[in-house]
């Protein structure tokens, strides 16, 4: 790495080398049985330079070939954007614990047993369900050095445990599933299994639902699939800078229900999305985004922050292998005080949304979402009466979150990138197939 940096410094005013190495061992079950064991190792190096004021960028997997890497970066710099930022000098980083050495020592045998136990528990409840499960351990190490003497290194361990089940009765299919991840080994499959067992219980019966607007409860998974993608775009400093975020001009203004609090937090110990610094070597921080319904901040990397005349929030991400760009680490929505049962009890006729399929296909920037309720339950007179099918919901995040009836008291991690409670909203538009059209 030092070699690449030295080489680059000869042709550029500023240079930064980012190297990431990863090792991952997924153990996978198909159709209820152990099917694959994989071992994936990868290493890549990215070089960002500023040459004659402009940004050049190249990546390679061949560590030995620094000449080619530098040449590619120089070639692109001719056309690159004008650099407005300064790379960070040597700095202190907050202590964010993300490495647990015991992850590595979990054996393949133990991982296979975890998966088996998970599947056995689910099939103990519903014998004809077909399950796919995955147990994965891994580690990544990140090194950043730059021409201003900045330097960052950290190691992270990752362990995940997940299951998806499908149940087919005639041509009716039911999909259930749950996955959890941590920087610690997850050796207790019960927590994952219980979520799936509850889904199976609630979905036992079918329920009809009319085409109209009605109150709706988003479970944490429902929040993740319907409401979060538009918000992630809207708080992205780059989209704000372009004027394409509907809340870009509303800093300090109330846009959401005053019960709503949201922040981005990469500093929570042993979470897979946590890290001591971002991909540009900027220290991690907890950034409030919505405070009491008011827009509090947007997320920035170095270049975008410089263009917007503000400071990086430590959200420079190289997801996808390109130049750093603003991206959330983990969104956290503050829990409220209402239990899920209390929400259900409050509803005369309504819908619980657990999984929405296709919600992110629409006009995300505008906050519109529309999707098929892949897993959702009808509520009648304060009770869940069964699962709905052939049902679409449509709404707009900004209209929906302007008025929230209640926020759940227990927040849950979803997919590693979101911790949220249940959200109970007064009205959402529902469209459904008329029953006579079933075959």
């Amino acid at each position: 790495m030092e070699n690449i940096l030295a080489h680059a410094k000869r042709v550029a005013e500023a240079a930064e080398v980012f190297m990431v190495s990863s090792e991952e061992t997924p153990v996978q079950f198909e159709a209820n049985r152990l099917k694959h064991i994989q071992s994936k190792q990868s290493t890549s190096v990215a070089l960002r330079i500023v040459r004659q004021g402009k940004i050049g960028y190249a990546t390679t997997t061949e560590l030995g070939d620094s000449q080619n890497l530098v040449n590619n970066a120089v070639e692109t710099a001719e056309f690159g954007m004008t650099a407005k930022f300064e790379l960070p000098a040597l700095t202190f980083y907050p202590k964010v614990e993300v490495f647990d050495p015991t992850v590595e020592s979990v054996t393949i045998d133990e991982m296979a047993k975890l998966g088996e136990e998970l599947i056995t528990t689910i099939r103990g409840h519903t014998s004809d369900i077909v399950c796919e499960a995955g147990v994965t351990k891994g580690a990544i190490s990140v090194h950043i050095i730059n021409s201003r003497g900045g330097q960052a290194d950290y190691k992270q361990s990752i362990f995940s445990l997940g299951i998806e089940g499908h149940l087919i009765r005639d041509t009716d299919m039911l999909f259930v599933g749950e996955s959890q991840s941590s920087c610690h080994p997850l050796l207790e499959p019960k927590a994952v299994a219980e979520v799936v067992l509850q889904q199976l219980e609630l979905a036992k019966n079918r329920a009809a639902i009319p085409t109209k607007s009605m109150p709706v409860i988003f479970t944490p998974d429902g929040v993740a699939s319907a409401l979060i993608p538009p918000l992630m775009a809207a708080f992205n400093g780059k989209i704000v800078l372009e004027g394409a975020s509907p809340i870009g001009s509303k800093l300090g203004q109330p846009v959401f229900d005053e019960k709503l609090w949201l922040w981005d937090d990469p500093t929570i110990a042993y979470r897979p999305e946590s890290r001591p610094c971002d991909d540009e070597g900027i220290p991690s921080q907890r950034t409030p985004l919505i405070e009491q319904g008011t827009v509090a901040n947007f997320l920035y990397d170095l270049q975008t922050a410089a263009l917007a005349h503000t400071r990086s929030t430590g959200n420079g991400s190289r997801n996808g292998g390109g130049l750093p760009a603003p991206a959330p680490s983990a969104f956290i929505i503050a829990p409220g005080s209402t239990t899920f049962d209390e929400m259900v009890n409050d509803i005369k006729e309504g819908l619980v949304i657990e999984q929405l399929m296709g919600a992110t296909q629409g006009n995300i920037l505008g906050g519109d979402f529309s999707g098929n309720v892949l897993l959702g339950y009808k509520v009648e007179s304060g009770k869940i009466v069964g699962r709905v099918k052939d049902t679409m919901v449509s709404g707009n995040v900004y209209q929906l979150l302007k008025q929230i009836i209640a926020i759940g008291s227990d927040a849950k991690w979803v997919g590693g990138f979101l911790k949220t409670p249940h959200l109970y909203c007064p009205s959402l538009s529902i469209a459904t197939k008329e029953p006579q059209n079933y075959l």
Partner: protein
Amino acid sequence: MTHIEAVGRQLAEALKGYSADYIEVHLEESQTSRITYRGRELESIGKTSAIGGNVRALVRGGWGFVSFNSLNELPSRVELAVKQAQFVGNEESQLAPVEPVADTVSSKDKDPVAVPLAEKKQLLDEYNDIIWHTPRIQTSIISYGDSHKKVIFSNSSGSYIEQESSGITLRLAAVATEGSEVQQVGLSLGSNGDFSLIQGLHHQVEQMAQRAVELLSAPQVKGGEYTVVLDPVLAGVFVHEAFGHLSEADCVYEDDRLREIMVLGRKFGGAELNIVDTAAIPRLRGSYKYDDEGVPATKTYLIREGKLVGRLHSRETAAKMKEKPTGNARAINYHYPPIVRMTNTYIEPRSASFDDIIGDIKEGVYAKNWYGGMTSMEMFTFSAGEAYMIRNGKLAETLRPVVLTGNVFTTLNNIDAIGNDLEMNQGGGCGKGGQSPLPVSNGSPHIRIRHCLVGGR
């Protein structure tokens, strides 16, 4: 001979010497370039080069897989894959027989990565200028990517195949705003490496930007059931989502219930409906000569005259279902094992003209272009980038983009008109099992679907 060729030759010789039922090795070298615009100016430009590979081993029905960047110590990686497979395996390995192949397939098109960056930037500047010349456009997003790669495949049955391939994707989007109202319209294009196919699209780009502005004042459709007409682009996405994924045998072969449902001969649609998947048409995005298990590409009828007649296979799924391999095992790159995927999937054209199709619709929706689509086997959703009401047999007001949903066991049966105007769309990429985007193309003529559920207010 390049480095991976030398390594590949040497390793191929050694593959028979391990105690596994089957071993295959992929070695890959690739170059890519990428240019993105957000707003008026070029935002990022970069080049990548990568070398890597993987080993996959099968022992008593269990699979081991090892992927890597460094080509050092390959014999120990093969041993690790074999050891993993031995840990898993507890039944008889089954792979459909395939004749060993020795072949070299070079790319027919000019390597797009080698086109000078200045030429690519010039073209994108022209498109971006057109978008920005449209009044009320707030911003634009352009993302161009190209790739050139060479993959060497060898296996323990003696196959040795070198294949070169190239690809280009170009996505453009125009974003229009008014107050806090934001609307966007996108255009997705692609080719298997031919740069000229993404040149000269100035008129299309102009129309795209104008549509984004029009949407600011367009109403949203009222949710409910409609007779829906799909244009060839969206109908292609529909056939991919609504039926293509369910015809991938890896979701069926170990699931007895699904095998009963997906039994060959089952009626899914009307007598006019034929659905095909084939990688054997030259020069489409999903085309190739051999898949990633070294199986030659074929043309597979999935539905013929409304009945299920075939499905897409890897060697393992074909053997377990006692059907013929179709050459549909694909991996996006060396980090992943091949899984069953679509290639170029389409509905065959029939005789109806567009006027025949919309002529007798009293109230319906004409949906064009695509945002995306998703499926969960039974249920699927797909979304249109453009939509219009149809009133009394004529196109009427412009609508906000719509999301449509259906159920594979009813919706295909509700197709009651198929047009004569087949077109293939090259702008798509498909995701499955964490592998995305895989180059595919989809196509169809215009089709009409009765009782289609449309989301709306």
